[in-house]
């Protein structure tokens, strides 16, 4: 399969009064057609800034994409003029957001908002767009879709709004759907429904998905490959099964260790990753995770380790990766 998306050395910074916030520090990854990639990390790890950079939606100023290439279908998105970029947004790459409560415009009808992309990118007239919108809403599981076209967002529940957002994202059959923590604001049963819906739609429509979350549980059942981000760097990248079975980066191990498990014996304690997330304004020279790491060595505080391949499709950025070989997250 060919690469749909190829990100090379993407670097995004925010120039604020307190200094330069280095949100994304030269990350590289690829995405194949139809593949589902999970990006995991805690708040401030650069996962959202990463995807907003792909779409060139970073608010400028203060933000700026200072380097890197984003090849989408072989074309560097960073070099496109804005009007061509707009033609890609929504049509080729669609995005859904975290807060279904605020990502729909409260004073416009659901129908209007879903139709918009169809009119913008496909040049449909109102009637055709309306019909297609009803189809889309039915596809994402909204009952009585035709009757609900003229409803306003406040007449929908959170899960239903997220379905509407997904319908908006799907409206122009994008090759890539970026989901930025789409289930974080929803309760667990609705989360499961949304995950199932995206899985099913992916099977039906064959689009690639980048799913951002801080919930490793959501990713496990959805993604084929996972990227773990920390402090604006990719720390580990592996196929999903490999990552859960043989995590190698101390941060990944810590994250997995902090998840409750059904098969852990009675009385087993959850571990936590000690310390605080780094301040991205004064990122230390070495590995950003070093101050919190149990395996920290001498080199760790001096230089950021390169992302090295240690197995098929498994890359880790850690100087002390030998120490973590064969570790089980819950065995600590």
């Amino acid at each position: 399969m060919t690469n749909l998306l190829e990100v090379r050395g993407l670097k995004t910074q925010f120039f604020t009064q307190n200094g330069i916030v280095r949100a994304v520090n030269g990350i590289s990854y690829t995405l194949k057609e139809g593949e589902c990639l999970g990006i995991v990390g805690e708040s401030g790890s650069g996962k959202s800034v990463n995807v907003l950079s792909l779409m060139r939606l970073i608010p400028t100023p203060p933000g700026k994409i200072v380097g890197g290439e984003v090849l989408f279908k072989g074309e560097d998105l960073m070099l496109l003029p804005m009007d061509e970029m707009r033609r890609i947004r929504g049509a080729e790459i669609a995005m859904i957001f975290q807060e279904p409560m605020t990502s729909l415009n409260p004073v416009l009808t659901i129908g209007f908002q879903v139709e918009e992309a169809l009119k913008l990118h496909k040049g449909m007239d109102s009637k055709a767009a309306r019909e297609r919108t009803a189809e889309l809403l039915t596809l994402v599981g909204i009952p009585n879709a035709i009757e609900r076209l003229d409803d306003y967002p406040h007449q929908f529940s959170g899960g239903m709004r997220q379905r509407v957002m997904i319908a908006m994202g799907l409206s122009c059959d994008p090759a890539l759907l970026i989901a930025d923590e789409p289930t974080t604001a929803l309760d667990v049963t609705i989360q499961a429904q949304i995950v199932d819906l995206v899985k099913e739609l992916r099977k039906k429509l064959g689009m690639a998905v980048i799913w951002i979350t801080h919930d490793l549980g959501v990713i496990a059942g959805l993604a084929e490959r996972v990227i773990v981000m920390y402090g604006g760097y990719i720390m580990e990248e592996a196929l999903v099964k490999e990552l859960y079975a043989r995590p190698r980066h101390p941060y990944t191990i810590g994250l997995l260790g902090s998840l409750p498990r059904l098969d852990a014996g009675e009385g087993a304690k959850l571990t936590s990753v000690r310390g605080q997330p780094p301040n991205l304004v004064n990122l230390p020279d070495g590995c950003p995770f070093a101050p919190r790491c149990d395996f920290v060595g001498e080199r760790c505080t001096q230089k950021m380790p390169p992302l090295e391949e240690i197995g098929p499709g498994h890359r880790v950025a850690c100087w002390e990766k030998e120490k973590t070989e064969g570790m089980k997250p819950h065995a600590r």
Binding site: M55, L57, P61, D83, R86, R87, I88, R89, G90, A91, A94, M95, F97, Q98, E99, T102, S103, L104, N105, P106, V107, L108, E116, A117, L120, H121, T138, G141, P143, D150, D151, Y152, H154, Q155, F156, S157, G159, M160, M165, M168, I190, Q193, D196, L197, E200
Partner: protein
């Protein structure tokens, strides 16, 4: 997963039938004061539109025999008029100092007040909204520059500016050559009965508050996720501003403009009062008050009646604006 499994309980169906604006209208109707205000505004508009059918006489028709005529009932209210007034019931609220029917002038005068109200509101809404939305949406340096210009305009005393402008254009009319700009503007002004410069004056000074309000609203709206979502959908800046943000700010803007209308009406009345407003014989409540004020000890009703009309009109718009504010308040949505 099948569709039936995915069904989840719907959001409350109770308010489903009513859209955003219908809901607001419903709550507006619940408010007695604003209902009365709205009713008065409608009456006023009807009176202005059908002035030539309602008014018993023309506004410029004189009856030289009956200058300062006073009908019987007015002398009951103001008994001091009795000794020297020409008592005649031909004019229902009396005649002015040149024998024109005051009621007819009063009815035609509503036209001026309402035209000024509508034009002022329209100008401030259009210019102010577009200016404020643009400034707020682009932010940064653009915003800085645009808003400093507003500050400068604000610092200028607006009434003084209008008066200066009127005085300047009116006086230069005499000297200007036919074909020059000021001649052209003055002939247009003449044709409008002297209202052009009132419009220009209100237009220059009225949009700034609206611009600030719109800008403030947009500053918070553009940080909302739906703005980002619209961008991610490939919408252009102008599309986001006018299709996505404008409907969100329309409520507060309408309230502001409704509440600003009394200001425009009083500006016009004041200008007419000091003689810089509409040209005679076009009737305006302001110029009627001015005419009456000269003889206020002798014929108090000549100034008091138009003054009452003026204040009631301003009350009506204020009540309506107040009701609109409550009706369009999103926090009160769905309540009584």
């Amino acid at each position: 997963m099948t569709n039936s499994e995915m069904m989840i309980p719907e959001a409350s169906d109770q308010d489903k039938e009513r859209g955003l604006w219908m809901d607001a209208l419903y709550r507006l109707a619940q408010n007695k004061a604003s209902l009365i205000g709205g009713g008065m505004v409608i009456l006023l508009i009807l009176m202005a539109i059908f002035a030539n059918y309602i008014a018993p006489y023309s506004f410029s028709e004189q009856d030289r025999q009956l200058t300062d005529a006073v009908p019987q009932w007015v002398t009951v209210i103001f008994p001091t008029i009795k000794p020297y007034a020409e008592i005649s019931d031909k004019f229902s609220i009396g005649a002015d100092y040149v024998g024109r029917d005051m009621l007819s002038r009063f009815i035609y005068g509503a036209r001026i007040s309402l035209v000024v109200a509508i034009v002022g509101a329209t100008i401030s809404l259009f210019i102010g909204t577009v200016y404020g939305l643009t400034s707020g949406f682009f932010g940064g340096q653009v915003d800085n520059l645009m808003m400093r210009f507003v500050d400068i305009m604000y610092a200028f005393p607006s009434m003084l500016m209008i008066i200066l402008m009127m005085a300047f254009f009116r006086s230069s009319f005499a000297e200007s050559e036919p074909g020059s700009l000021s001649y052209m503007m003055n002939s247009v002004d003449q044709r409008f009965g002297g209202m052009l410069f009132i419009f220009v004056g209100i237009g220059i000074t009225a949009w700034m508050g609206t611009a600030r309000l719109a800008r403030g609203q947009v500053l918070s709206l553009r940080e909302q996720e739906f703005t980002l979502a619209a961008k991610a959908l490939g919408a252009s800046s102008s599309r986001i501003i006018f299709k996505h943000l404008l409907p969100n700010v329309l409520g507060p803007l309408m309230i502001r403009v409704t509440l600003a209308i009394p200001g425009y009406i009083s500006t016009e009345a004041f200008l007419s009062f000091i003689g810089l407003g509409v040209n005679a014989p076009t009737p305006s409540w302001g110029s009627m008050i001015a005419d009456g004020a000269v003889a206020i000890r002798t014929y108090p009703h000549q100034a008091i009646f138009p003054a009452i009309a003026l204040s009631f009109t301003m009350f009506a718009f204020n009540f309506l604006g107040d009701g609109l504010r409550d009706a369009l308040d999103p926090r009160l949505r769905g309540t009584q």
